[in-house]
């Protein structure tokens, strides 16, 4: 298992947002995480990526315990993520956004830059950033555009490019298809597929159940902070508990 | 970018240089008509703006009146005096710049000012280094003349009554007339107040009075009741306010309320026209350099002339700058040359019992003012001698 959580728990005041959740994602696989609104999906992602500390349980990455590590450490260890409500650096260019994604893979050049040198060639980091911008379908022509100027769907793609820039072991995508039209969504599906082919491990949180079923080898279902199912897609579709949870809440909504 | 930085700095310097050459023609307050001999220029650095700006009109006007009178009476051996006034902004660097301008550009014979002691701490060393005589006209603190932190300060003279002269006189008079045994000092945390604190403590010691408690307030204190309550606990014979006028007013009110019958002894900070309208001003005992009520002819003439010229009564700051200019003119007449700074300095040292609104005026060996101290209180909204 590349990533493993055991009994992961988070409480906010009296509410247990994540309740003793065990998850496992094998190297090179995609795990889908679904569940109704407020089921604790984003909190779980925040725990795994170190944005909020856990109240209980352990997180293991490639077998070693990383519980309690802050977000920037986990990023350095190979966990990259996107955010449900897009968090690109709006006032910076597309290229700078992606370069910041490479922060952990770049040696600090602050001292080296004090000696001025001719800007002869595009350096390796910039080249890699541009190719990532191409890869997520933004097009390197837009490298100098400010991130805040991009349409919403493109900002999501930029977030993915930024996350990939760190050459992660695990990529967490938090509702990447939200706000995308069917064409963009199809492009996203293709991108995820090709990343899996290259051996990347993915945790995909998504409302678009079809996208999850099509791309993930396993699917876990959360409800009220608890994992109520964890199975191959076909098994999930048949699971009465899952149907109950979904239909129950869907009916209310 | 590097180019831009350079252009930016260059631009600022360029702007500054344009202003620098334009400013002198626009600014100086000249008080002369064309004269056969070249004018003798005198610089006055004063707080036209900034924290101490309220001293200014009187300080400038006093000097201006003296210059006008001297010129009307024929000037200095046929040469007219020309007063150049520069703003010291109540801050050190602008005071220094004003002094440097007087010395480098205007080539003045002597300088008066600046208004605040803290500004003088920066400006006076400039004149000292250049060897230009300076007369301080409102600095009362320690280290202005005599023994100065920046080394010798023999080019600096002082026409304002220093607290180390005024306070001992005040303390002596108060001790005798009020029969003081023990006092409490309430003091502020500024340079002026701390200087006063030191001087007061020495003066009381010399007069055999015990200072039972020293209570500090800060520039940020709003209410003075707690300080006076603390002082009251010592049951002193009088309260000493080592403070500026604003806090002093509040201390007077609190003493009147909490310790009826007790007096407030103060330094030059209490010597403020703004305190005259305070209902409890009658409690204060303060040593001043000047008394408007003095019936000395030089003084009554000065008061009348000032009132005619400017439409208001002069205050101590006007009297002191007027006096300094009178003293300087006297020295210039005797020096033989206004451009020979050493001669002017020597002549200043020779000023002896000159009649001025402050009384008979001389300098001590330390170049400090030697003049009578007026120990005053307030009656009917006027400073009157303390009996």
């Amino acid at each position: 298992m590349l990533l493993e959580t055991v009994g992961l728990t988070k409480r906010f005041g009296g509410v247990t947002a994540v309740d003793r959740v065990d998850l496992g994602i094998a190297q090179g696989r995609a795990l889908g995480l679904i569940g109704p609104n407020g089921a604790g999906k984003t909190t779980l992602v925040n725990l795994i990526s170190g944005v909020v500390p856990a109240d209980g349980g352990t997180i293991r990455l490639s077998g070693s315990d990383v519980t309690g590590r802050p977000a920037h450490r986990l990023a350095a260890l190979g966990i990259a993520r996107t955010f449900q409500g897009v968090r690109v650096f709006r006032g910076l260019t597309v290229e700078d956004n992606v370069l910041i994604g490479r922060h952990t893979r770049t040696r600090s050049d602050a001292l080296a830059r004090l000696i001025p040198r001719p800007r002869s060639a595009i350096d390796a980091d910039r080249a890699r950033a541009l190719s990532l911008i191409d890869r997520v379908g933004l097009g390197r022509r837009r490298a100098e555009v400010l991130a805040g100027e991009l349409p919403y769907g493109d900002q999501r793609r930029l977030e993915i490019a930024r996350a990939l820039a760190s050459e992660p072991l695990l990529l967490i995508l938090d509702e990447p298809a939200a706000g995308m039209n069917p064409t963009e969504s199809a492009g996203l599906r293709a991108l995820i597929g090709s990343l899996l082919v290259e051996g990347l491990t993915i945790l995909l949180i998504e409302h678009d159940v079809r996208l999850v079923m099509d791309t993930c080898q396993r699917v876990a279902v959360l409800n009220f902070g608890r994992k109520i199912a964890d199975d191959v897609p076909a098994g999930i579709q048949r699971d009465p508990v899952v149907r109950e949870a979904y239909l129950g809440t869907e009916a209310v909504a | 970018m590097r180019r831009l930085v350079a252009v930016g700095i260059g631009g600022v310097l360029l702007l500054a240089s344009c202003g620098g050459t334009a400013a002198p023609s626009a600014n100086p307050a000249t008080a002369t008509v064309a004269a056969p001999k070249p004018d003798i220029k005198i610089g006055l650095a004063t707080a036209k703006s900034g924290a101490a700006n309220f001293y200014n009109p009187q300080q400038s006007n006093g000097a201006l009146l003296a210059v006008e009178q001297i010129n009307a009476a024929g000037g200095i051996a046929g040469a007219k005096l020309q007063l150049i006034v520069e703003d010291d902004g109540s801050v050190r660097d602008q005071g220094i710049t004003a002094f440097k301008k007087f010395i480098e550009q205007d080539k003045v014979a002597a300088i008066l000012g600046p208004t605040l002691s803290a500004v003088a701490a920066g400006a006076h060393p400039v004149a000292q280094a250049a060897g230009i005589p300076v007369i301080a006209i409102s600095n009362t603190g320690l280290g202005i003349v005599g023994k100065c932190d920046y080394g010798p300060c023999d080019w600096i003279f002082r026409a304002s009554l220093g607290e180390q002269s005024a306070v001992p006189e005040t303390v002596k008079a108060a001790t005798q007339k009020l029969g003081l045994k023990k006092v409490v000092i309430i003091y502020g945390d500024g340079k002026f107040e701390l200087d006063d604190l030191t001087i007061f403590k020495d003066a009381f010691k010399a007069n055999g009075v015990t200072v039972t408690k020293e209570i500090a307030y800060t520039a940020k204190d709003v209410d003075f009741a707690p300080f006076v309550t603390q002082a009251k606990g010592e049951n002193p014979d009088a309260i000493v306010a080592s403070s500026l006028a604003g806090p002093a007013g509040k201390i007077l009110d609190e003493v009147a309320k909490q310790m009826p019958g007790k007096r407030v002894i103060g330094g030059n900070g209490l010597n403020s026209a703004a305190l005259l309208s305070n209902a409890n001003a009658g409690l204060m005992v303060v040593g001043t350099a000047w008394s408007k009520a003095s019936t000395d002819k030089t003084n009554t003439d000065f008061v009348a002339a000032y009132k005619t010229r400017f439409g208001v009564d002069p205050d101590q700051f006007a009297a002191q700058s007027y006096t300094a200019m009178t003293v300087l003119a006297d020295a210039l007449k005797r020096s033989g040359s206004a451009t020979d700074h050493a001669a002017v300095k020597k002549a200043l040292e020779g000023v002896s019992s000159l009649a001025t609104p402050l009384g008979a005026f001389s300098f001590t060996a330390d170049h400090d003012v030697k003049q009578p101290t007026f120990v005053m209180t307030v009656k009917d909204g006027q400073f009157t001698p303390f009996q």
Binding site: - | I215, A219, D221, T229, A274
Partner: protein, 292 residues
């Protein structure tokens, strides 16, 4: 000791009266209005103008000063804050624009009245004195003590129980949502500034009356104290601000009595610093300074 306690309560009341308006604007609009000390000073000078130049009695000057400073508050918002709000500028910008207004107004007052402190014309300031046994109480001081608590109660009531209060709380919570819910946001903001500045003006007049002293920088010493009071009480809480004011007043007097004099001034800022570091939400704070 009893006397010092009374002194402390009085000082606390001054801080409270000053901080209430400050805290109101912060709690509703998240603006740190650095022009509040200027409004305070302006109140005192308007009273001086009405009494000294127009020759009217103090009980006319007081309401006029309060009204004019209230209107000034609305103008202040239009000039310094509204343009920034439209642009969605961050908190720093409004701190700076309010500072700019302060520079301008203080200097204008100095051009008219000079930079030195001045007093009201003799006999024009109310001077009621009550005697209880040996102790004397001045009317103005008692009024300040009572008002600071009464105004806090009224303000809290208004915020909790009235339509305006509900509008303001909606505004504080989320301006966009408030607008969608039909709150007249512009009117609510104008009301906030009117009330805040009128309170500041009232504090200025009362304090000037109490000391019969006013000057163009009279609000400055209270400014940093108001920060302390708000932080200690809890940013955004009006009762918290009043409690914070009394804590500070008592602490200052206690440190005068018990601490070496040199360390006394460090008390306010030390307290401020400690509370910020140890309990940033203050005593009664609801807003977390660590909102993400």
């Amino acid at each position: 000791m009893a006397e010092q306690l009374y002194n402390a309560v009085f000082i606390g009341s001054i801080y409270a009266l000053f901080a209430l308006g400050f805290a109101l604007v912060f709690s509703v609009l998240d603006i740190l209005n650095l022009a509040h000390p200027t409004v305070f000073m302006l109140g005192a000078f308007i009273a001086l103008f009405v009494i000294g130049t127009l020759g009217l009695p103090w009980f006319v000057a007081l309401p006029i000063a309060v009204l004019v400073t209230g209107l000034f508050g609305i103008a202040l918002d239009r000039v310094a804050f509204a343009p920034l709000r439209r642009r969605g500028a961050p908190a720093l910008s409004s701190m700076i624009s309010s500072l700019a207004v302060t520079l301008i107004v203080v200097r204008l007052v100095e051009l008219r009245y000079g930079g030195d402190f001045i007093t009201f014309p003799a006999g024009s300031v109310p001077a009621f004195v009550f005697r209880v046994g040996d102790a004397t109480f001045e009317g103005i001081r008692l009024a300040i003590v009572v008002l600071s608590v009464v105004l806090m109660l009224i303000l809290t009531y208004v915020l909790r129980r009235t339509q305006l209060g509900r509008d303001l709380r909606a505004l504080a919570e989320n301006p966009r949502a408030a607008r969608l819910l039909g709150v007249d946001v512009d009117r609510a903001i104008a009301a906030t500034f009117f009330v805040s500045s009128a309170l500041g003006g009232l504090a200025g007049v009362l304090l000037a009356f109490a000391y019969n002293t006013l000057d163009s920088r009279m609000g400055v010493p209270l400014e940093l104290r108001a920060f302390t009071v708000m932080v200690v009480g809890g940013m955004g809480s009006l009762p918290g601000a009043v409690i914070g004011a009394y804590v500070l007043g008592l602490g200052e007097v206690a440190s005068l009595v018990y601490l070496p004099t040199e360390l006394r001034d460090a008390f306010a800022f030390g307290l401020l610093f400690l509370v910020l570091v140890l309990r940033p939400t203050g005593l009664l704070g609801q807003k977390s300074p660590d909102r993400v």
